[in-house]
Symmetry: C2
Subunit: 345 residues, 2 copies
């Protein structure tokens, strides 16, 4: 097996810097669009054969160093009864958002059975991968899930979310405890089914001050990471806009910290500490630039990583639909080519 990704997660030397992309199975690929013409996002997520097929699409096409299961960070909320729908122009919408105490009480408790389809998808994807590259499982983190649950969809200023957090911290912690329980079930299903690493997506946690992260979020992410039946499989924690949160986020108990492009990788790594691996951090929009500009940016990030063991190349957020596949190919090639080194060097 190409184990560069897992070795880098464990901060072991690698022959080339491993690279994968968030949302690497996505709309920028014609193969994915063909599937989505016939099936909704939720259908693909909940039909193990389709989820596994889409998971493999980028692996068949590009020399990536890891696969990530096709799913959605919001699936735990759907299982809890919030009625998720993806609307083309608006993104995810919850028809039963969480606004008052009673909404929290009515959340459906979930267990491993609720996510049986996710386990099956992982098993099929592992089978199809046949150990070519490792398979990553994932879930949304409780803050990010809460923001969608409370706002009823995407948000710009997280008004209702913070209103609950600041005015009703009792409700907030009850909600985050329930969300965390669901996340733990969901991730453990994936781990038992064969996920070889997991990533917790706290995509919107960067809207919080460090004090608020510490008070309202950190206890819950800590509980999740410590409750995973991970037996040594790497745990990645990712968010955007997290420059000031990184020293607190590392206390959550992850092995790898995901970085977005707003921080310099070298400065962020020094801040977090070299006893953690880091993953990132190219601005996803760079992939729409001319190839020489992409190459210049890849080079810059590799220079900041400075050959230190424990760097996984990735974007600072997911690939966008308008990115040319040629640029994805070229980016992977640049990462591998510009990072060649002797193992143990």
């Amino acid at each position: 097996m190409n184990d560069r990704f897992l070795r880098a997660c464990r901060r072991e030397p690698v022959d080339r810097t491993p690279v994968w992309f968030m949302r690497q199975a996505g709309r920028y690929m014609a193969e994915y669009q063909a599937i989505r013409k016939k099936h909704s996002i939720l259908e693909v997520c909940k039909t193990p054969e389709l989820a596994a097929e889409v998971t493999l699409q980028p692996i068949e096409r590009f020399p990536l160093d890891a696969a990530i299961i096709f799913a959605d960070i919001l699936l735990p909320l759907d299982a809890m009864g919030l009625q998720l729908e993806f609307i083309e122009s608006k993104g995810p919408v919850f028809h039963k958002p969480v606004r008052v105490e009673n909404d929290i009480q009515q959340l459906i408790p979930v267990d491993g059975e609720s996510f049986a389809y996710a386990g099956e998808a992982i098993r099929l994807a592992r089978q199809a991968l046949a150990d070519r590259v490792p398979l990553i499982g994932f879930a949304g983190a409780p803050f990010t899930l809460a923001s969608y649950a409370i706002e009823g969809g995407s948000s710009r200023d997280y008004m209702r979310t913070k209103d609950m957090m600041f005015a009703r911290p009792d409700l907030w912690h009850t909600l985050l405890t329930k969300l965390s329980n669901a996340v733990i079930e969901y991730l453990n299903v994936q781990i038992r089914a064969g996920a070889q690493a997991i990533q917790l997506f706290d995509s919107w946690v960067g809207c919080l001050s460090p004090d608020d992260y510490e008070e309202y979020v950190l206890p819950h992410t800590q509980r999740i990471f410590s409750a995973l039946e991970s037996k040594g499989i790497p745990k990645i924690y990712f968010g955007t806009g997290t420059a000031t949160l990184l020293p607190l986020m590392r206390k959550a108990g992850c092995d790898v910290m995901g970085l977005d492009w707003r921080v310099r990788l070298d400065e962020a790594w020094a801040t977090i500490g070299y006893d953690l691996a880091v993953q990132g951090n190219l601005d996803p929009l760079i992939l729409a630039a001319p190839l020489p500009e992409i190459k210049r940016r890849v080079q810059r990030i590799l220079a900041q990583a400075n050959g230190r063991a424990g760097h996984i190349f990735n974007l600072g957020h997911g690939i966008l639909p308008h990115i040319p596949v040629e640029s994805v190919d070229a980016t992977i090639e640049y990462v591998h080519q510009l990072s060649v080194r002797e193992v143990g060097a």
Copy 2:
């Protein structure tokens, strides 16, 4: 005159920490809503009597230490021909966005005459204020203006904006030069008419990496600050999500750095350097919390400022429409009460 605000901008000792709020004339006030029932935002902005009246509304009601002229950061784009409209559910929309080279060539050059209404609004507001508190003028910064011009409105990932920046840096710099020219004209009109401080709003610049800020934005903000006929009136530079950009933003040439809530005020001030004043940085959503929670947060920020000369209390972004006026009143009271000190102490 109550000159606490101007003294703090100059890092001189004050008897109490001065406080004003971004968007302090806004929808949370019934007096403002009454005016807006009869007039659109653009009508209020472009009718000097109305703009001055709205500017004074929060000053008549609250013991604020500064007034800010009622206007919109996007007015320079409207003057350049992009056809601005505020749509209730969507926010600002430009009917003629800037997408290709020809769009940039077609931008209408502006001069002081284009902003005659803004000068008149400042004069009327100064008259009505009768030196009770200083009056702040403002404009959008070129990056933030470019993002609205190119996207045609608000955006989540600034896709088209960065596509131009990364793929056509020649067009980008031409556009930012033209936008900067308009901003300089607009701010100088306000300064000549009597604005006693000015603030440049780079609200969305935090979506950039430090390297990109330095390469694509800083030269333009530097040019603006150095071209202002400011003769010693304080210049404030504000953005959100700027934690990693602050050391570069200070090179733009401002006297006061606006901070959002994602940074701790004490750490940010140490990073920027104590030869600049700072303004901020309460999360605007805290104003929806119970009063004791607001008080706790005000106290925390004042403790971080630690009595050092050069702190202006503000929110980390504008007041939101659902904030109770009682909480605005209480916040001002807490700032004044908890920061009482002997001048020169």
